[in-house]
Amino acid sequence: MANLESEAGELTVYELGFLVLPSIPEDKLSNVTDAVRKIISAAGGTEIDAEAPIKKTLAYSMSKTIGASRYVVSDAYLGWTKFEVDKANVPIIKAGVEKMEEILRFLLIKAPRETTFTFAKARTAMAIETTTSEDAEAEITPAKLSESIEK
């Protein structure tokens, strides 16, 4: 393992996507994101970008066991945060998030520095698409129809 030394001290950009249990009230979601942020900063990470969790219907039901009780859920809050941290400290973050009871599931991956996709962007893109298709439909009906009839 010759390159172990060179790896230390190098900062890498990671993205943590996480699902929060739907039983948590919406006004307390910020507590969960703050807790995640604390874990990251405790491991020496600096946040680059993040988006607040939003409710999503899951494609299949998942379960989480807390103590003796097992919760089966079919929807959850999906949030993500992007941060820069030393490679060596990633296991600390992973262990920290694993211990959080509010987190149903999480995904810790390497990511590019620039953010190309956000839920907000996707929502506006969807809105534009629907309005343009509505406009296209509307364009045909009132004025043009009467013109074409006159002709």
Binding site: G17, A59, Y60, L78, L107, F117, A122
Partner: protein
């Protein structure tokens, strides 16, 4: 005829696992990943796409199986 490259056309440099609407375009009705023969995606993008779909499946954004 050369098939189109969706990602180059839409200027998507990085295929994000959260971009479910885009990923859905590359699934069959059974929620399996479309073959390259069907989708016409270049090998490089196909690899990225497959990884993104698998990540989305893990987080419950896309199904593993359907129907």
């Amino acid at each position: 005829m050369r098939k189109q490259n969706y990602f180059k056309e839409h200027k998507i440099k990085h295929i994000d696992y959260k971009d479910v609407e885009t990923l859905k375009k590359f699934l069959t009705p059974h929620a399996r990943i479309q073959s390259r023969k069907r989708s016409g995606t270049p090998a490089k993008f196909e690899r990225e796409l497959a990884l993104a779909i698998k990540r989305a499946r893990f987080l419950g954004l896309l199904p593993y199986v359907s129907r």
